[in-house]
C-alpha cells in the first residue's frame, strides 16, 4: 500500500501538531472543517487510524470511552484528570527504564508501554478548595 498525498491528511497532521491536549477525532473534525468544510468524519477517522498505524501519531485510550490522539510519539506518560478529563503529558526520567525493568521480569518480548496516571489536576484541586 503506497501512500498518496492528500490535503486533508496534511491538514489533520498540521492541526494535531499544534495541540498538546490530545484531541479526540471529533475535535479534529471540528477544527479541520474550518479549512475543509466538506471533510467527513469518516475521512478524519481513516486518517487518524492510518497515521497511528504507521507510527506518526499515537492513539490513546485513557478510559473515558473516546480515543484521543497525540502528535508526540516520543516515549512519555500521561496524566488524566478524573474530574475535568484533561490529559497532559508527563515526562519522567525513568520512562525508558520501565520497559527494561519489565523486560527482566517477563518472559516474552516487550515493545512499548503506555502509562496513565489518574487524579485531579491543579485546576480541579484549587477549585475544590475555594
Amino acid at each position: 500500500m503506497i501512500l498518496k498525498h492528500s490535503k486533508q491528511r496534511d491538514s489533520i497532521k498540521e492541526f494535531l501538531s499544534t495541540r498538546k491536549d490530545h484531541p479526540t477525532a471529533d475535535v479534529v473534525y471540528m477544527n479541520v472543517r474550518k479549512s475543509f468544510p466538506n471533510i467527513s468524519l469518516g475521512t478524519v477517522y481513516r486518517n487518524l487510524t492510518l497515521l497511528a498505524d504507521i507510527g506518526e501519531i499515537t492513539r490513546l485510550r485513557v478510559g473515558d470511552g473516546v480515543d484521543h490522539f497525540d502528535f508526540d510519539t516520543s516515549p512519555h506518560c500521561h496524566f488524566v484528570c478524573t474530574e475535568c478529563g484533561n490529559i497532559s503529558d508527563l515526562y519522567l526520567s525513568f520512562t525508558e527504564q520501565i520497559v527494561e525493568a519489565a523486560q527482566e521480569n517477563f518472559d516474552g518480548e516487550i515493545n512499548g508501554h503506555k502509562t496513565y496516571f489518574y487524579g485531579r489536576c491543579r485546576n480541579c484541586v484549587c477549585k475544590s478548595i475555594e
Copy 2:
C-alpha cells in the same frame, strides 16, 4: 444508594475471582449463564460497572476496544500481547515508586496509575520461530 444482595452479582464476583486472564463482559456473561441461564448481558454490565465504581474490581481498557475486568485490585501492571490479545499480570517491584516519582514531577494530585506493556508473549514468540 444502599446495595442490596443479589445472587447474580455474587456469581459474577465468584467467577471473576477464579480467573486471571481478565475476561470481558461477554465472557463473564457466557460463564455466569451456566449458573443463571436467564441472566442478561445488561445485568452483567451493570454489575461490572457497579463493582468497578466501588473499587471491588478494576476495569481495564488495554486498547483492543473491549473492556476487560480484573478481580485483583492490588497495584500491578499488565502485559498485552499484540498478537494473541492475551493479558497477563506483571508485578514489578517499582510499581509503588512510579506514582511517587510522577507525583514529584506533577503539580496536582495523583491517585493511581495504569500501566500497559505491549509486545509478544512467550507463546507467540515461539510460534513465529518454528
